[in-house]
């Protein structure tokens, strides 16, 4: 969580930029992250050229806001923030061979996409991704493109030693640092409750029956909506513990723990999950997972989850007691849904049941609030048709 490498500028001095626009790409050991800008204005000066490894909080560029004379250019505070926060701040896996990335002026406006696997291979083989032209690779750089480029380079210059990659070990280090800090600083308490998932499962089946395969909802979607709504009822679980005090967040930005192919995980945010329809949540989750596995996340997604949700039930576990990602104050887990004996009005019946868990920061909330949260979540999941 200390530095990242500025891979590419997507704007140049004189360009007009809008709030939320992606202006640069930073390479972290979690893959490439798009850096967004938080002010509208004109780029005055680029202070960090591409290819440079920058520490957290480094000033990247100067921005001129509307009506401001050229001489009075101000720092891009948003950019500073964007580059400085947790996601972009992870240790960079950059190797010295990256230093020769061409300046902005030579970068083609059509940017090829690079899969994480191709990017990793490029690092292993010492292939400069920026040196590949779109004409050679098409819109997406594949492993085959990288291999071809590496072979061509070998022929041209057989003495070149491939730079070894430590991307994976860097990511492991970042996870280790965050989790060790969490267990060192956060007094976790843990709660678990079994939730009857029969109603929501039945509702989802009938809903998906009506839908074309491309519009189907995953079982996790109604759960995401229910827990985002439940968090509104228990705000002491949603926010950050910073400088010895809890700051609750009015918005619910749900960090979704997503595993990466080949190891490691990230938990980028689905913004305002409590306000989105199930279809919108599905579209957002699809987009997020695709980009996590395709190697393009936005800095804001990495930086601002207000709470994390982990759905390890996929792997068949009954329950997961998570480690809070600081400075968040809670992580919610959902185990697998399976048929279990359940007592309903004095009779034992078979029901679909899942164990929901909460690990929360005892500095910010007490078990009572945590229990209230899980009870609210369970209640909301009994009326799936209202989770719209």
């Amino acid at each position: 969580m200390e530095a990242g490498t500025l891979v590419e500028w997507l704007v140049r001095p004189g360009d007009e930029v809008k709030r939320g626009q992606v202006v640069a790409v930073v390479e972290t050991q979690k893959g490439a992250v798009d850096v967004e800008i938080w002010e509208t204005g004109t780029v005055d000066q680029i202070l960090v050229e591409s290819g440079r490894k920058v520490p957290v909080g480094e000033l990247l560029a100067l921005l001129r806001t509307a009506g401001e004379p050229v001489a009075g250019a101000q720092d891009i505070s948003g950019l500073q923030e964007a580059a400085g926060v947790e996601a972009a701040s992870v240790l960079s896996g950059a190797s010295p061979s990256r230093a020769g990335i061409p300046p902005v002026s030579r970068i083609s406006p059509v940017r090829p996409r690079v899969s994480p696997s191709a990017r990793k291979l490029a690092e292993e083989l010492g292939v400069e991704i920026a040196s590949l032209s779109v004409a050679e690779t098409g819109a997406e750089i594949s492993r085959a493109d990288i291999e071809r480029a590496a072979q061509a380079a070998m022929k041209a210059q057989p003495a070149i030693q491939p730079a070894s990659s430590d991307w994976q070990s860097q990511m492991r280090k970042a996870i280790a640092a965050a989790m060790a800090r969490s267990k060192r600083e956060i007094p976790h308490y843990y709660l678990a409750t079994d939730i009857d998932m029969s109603a929501v499962s039945a509702w989802l089946s009938s809903e998906n029956l009506k839908r074309n395969v491309t519009r189907r909802l995953l079982p996790v979607i109604p759960c995401m909506k229910a827990l985002a709504l439940a968090l509104r009822e228990v705000p002491e679980l949603n926010g950050f513990w910073i400088d010895g005090a809890f700051r609750s967040s009015a918005a619910v930005h749900l960090g979704m723990a997503i595993s990466m192919r080949g190891g490691g995980l990230v938990a980028p945010a689905i913004h305002d999950a409590d306000k989105k329809s199930l279809d919108q949540l599905m579209a957002d989750l699809r987009d997020l997972i695709t980009r996590v596995r395709g190697g393009r996340l936005r800095s804001s997604e990495m930086n601002d989850p207000t709470v994390t949700f982990t759905n390890l039930g996929e792997q068949g576990v009954d329950g997961v007691f998570g480690v809070i990602y600081p400075p968040q104050v809670a992580i919610i887990g959902l185990g697998k849904t399976s048929e279990k004996p359940w007592v309903d009005q004095g009779a034992v019946v078979a029901r679909k049941v899942a164990t929901a868990t909460l690990a929360a920061d005892h500095r910010a909330s007490d078990g009572h609030s945590g229990g209230l949260f899980l009870a609210t979540l369970g209640k909301l999941l009994q009326e799936p048709e209202r989770l719209r």
């Binding site: 899969s115 995953l218 996790v220 192919r261 699809r286 996929e314």
Partner: protein
């Protein structure tokens, strides 16, 4: 709808799997063992597999039939039946 041979269907599934898990070697897939034990796939990947197969073969696979696509052989048999039924 053109008739599909089992080989074409198998190829369609393997192609779809390659798009989801580029690291796999198609030749290494054991046709009788569950795909999800051999390939690191979650429910999102599996849904994408179903969508991709739907796009290639034009077969809509209802959710309640997902269990029939657990192994490669099972999926080929199921889709061959569905393709034949659509003739």
């Amino acid at each position: 709808m053109t008739p599909r041979s089992r080989e074409e269907i198998r190829q369609a599934i393997v192609d779809a799997l390659g798009g989801i898990a580029p690291e796999i070697d198609p030749g290494s897939i054991a046709a009788d063992l569950p795909l999800r034990e051999q390939i690191d796939m979650d429910s999102f990947d599996f849904l994408n597999l179903i969508i991709r197969v739907h796009e290639i073969l034009g077969i809509d696979i209802p959710e309640q039939d997902y269990a029939k696509l657990v192994t490669l052989n099972g999926a080929v048999e199921y889709l061959a039946r569905r393709c034949a039924a659509q003739q």
